[in-house]
């Protein structure tokens, strides 16, 4: 049981890929992360940079939040180990999850973003400068919190550590994909004679809605939406 908690088999791997990138795409099916989606899709280069940064943070946030959820928040009866119970401090019950989930995840995400920023500034200053203000903005990107929360709802099934991490990564890939697609559309939209009142965000949202409709077509692909 404990060993199983860290692996993922091939069929659920593909289910994760298809559902995260296409069927339950974070932007087009869950409507999360719309702020950077509209804000950073003016140019393909910045859209790609933002997508990559979000993917990175989502992956890390998924694995760290999974560990915290499993071994700090869940009662020992559910997960087999709880750090509070093990240290005999208190015997946490299920309410601890409700109280602490969101706030600890935000803590994790904020720390990760800070950490990534520190490391990137030293190791890849070019990329750091290219991402500029977008990097700290990921802290408040609801898609990142969304993936951490969805990974730990335990419905419809309990995710393994590997499954949670992969789910985070591919949620980020799906986000990046839609960002790049949208930036390509918007670079062309800029050149068209869009009526004054529709310029910018309004026409972008209409395009987003049409893209979301198109992505609904993927719903028939997997039959398994998470």
């Amino acid at each position: 049981m404990v060993a199983m908690a860290y692996t993922v088999d091939i069929s659920s791997f593909f289910t994760i890929v298809i559902s995260m990138v296409f069927v339950s795409n974070f932007v087009l099916a869950r409507f999360l992360g719309l702020c950077p989606f509209i804000g950073v899709t003016n140019r393909a280069s910045s859209a790609f940079g933002m997508g990559a940064a979000v993917t990175f943070v989502m992956t890390l946030a998924s694995s760290v939040s999974w560990l915290i959820y499993r071994y700090m928040l869940l009662p020992a009866a559910d997960s087999g180990f709880n750090v509070f119970a093990a240290l005999a401090i208190i015997k946490p019950d299920a309410s601890l999850v409700l109280v602490l989930k969101t706030v600890t995840y935000i803590l994790v995400i904020a720390t990760l973003v800070q950490l990534v920023e520190l490391v990137m500034r030293r190791t890849t200053p070019k990329l750091y400068l290219a991402l500029g203000i977008y990097l700290p903005l990921i802290t408040t990107n609801c898609a990142v919190l969304g993936v951490a929360l969805l990974n730990t709802t335990d419905t419809p099934e309990v995710l393994t550590f590997a499954a949670a991490t992969l789910q985070g990564f591919f949620a980020g890939v799906g986000f990046a994909l839609v960002m790049v697609l949208m930036s390509a559309i918007r670079e062309r939209l800029d050149l068209l004679g869009v009526p004054e009142a529709m310029k910018g965000a309004p026409i972008a949202f209409i395009c987003t809605a049409l893209m979301a409709l198109a992505f609904m077509g993927f719903g028939g692909l997997a039959g398994a939406t998470r």
Binding site: D93, L107, L115, R122, L191, G193
Partner: protein, 273 residues
Amino acid sequence: MDYGIVIASVLALGVLGAAFALVLAIANARFAVKRDPLEEKVLAALAGTNCGACGYGGCAAYAQAVAAGKVPATACIPGGGPAAKAVANLVGQTIEPREQQVAVVHCNRESAPSIDYSGIGDCRAATAIVGGVYECRFACLGLGTCARVCPSGAIWMSDKGLPVVDEERCTGCGICVKACPKGIVTVERRADEVHVLCRSKDKGAVAREKCEHACIACGLCVKACNAKAIEIQDFLAEIDYNKCVSCGECVAVCPTGAIGDYRKTRRRKVDVA
């Protein structure tokens, strides 16, 4: 009442927070980037809104560039005059009143259309789709994108479909320069009167075949120039405006009329209309 959950919450967040703080502190020490102290002073003098109006990806990036001495101290728009003065003092620059700058259109094409373009009336769209609509692939497309983006209404299209700049209205903001997909528009000092009105990098014979007013890289202007301000690069004459005295000798010798003297043609909308 059960205080377990309160204790657990305080413990969990306290321990996690402390652990993360420790990790960040270690990372900060381990991955510390040595910054120029001047850079930090400059950063403090800026408006700090990260608006990007200076053309950099945030105040820190601009501060770095200024501290390195690469760019003028006056680019912080929200900071305005006070910020510019403070920054200039820090980096030892002096702020001089700027000479008036105007947009210059470097094309005077007399070229036949290569296709009958009826797509979106925007130079950027046309460039993305077909590359160009005249025989000369460097030529102005004449679809008027620069005129439309100009916030001052200083550009209008002539009968030939070439942009003309009203230099009374032009503020030299450079928005048209960014909009032009052919790189035909540049911003120059208004005091400079003589400009190469061609951007063709084709070889002389090819360029001549495609456009009557093309620069054919014959080199007569280079010889005629008293100030040694003209060089031929990639089959195209280029004027070094730091040396040019706008004497007009090159205009007289150019066999194709690829160099223009704005003293004769320069003008405001009222003059032309």
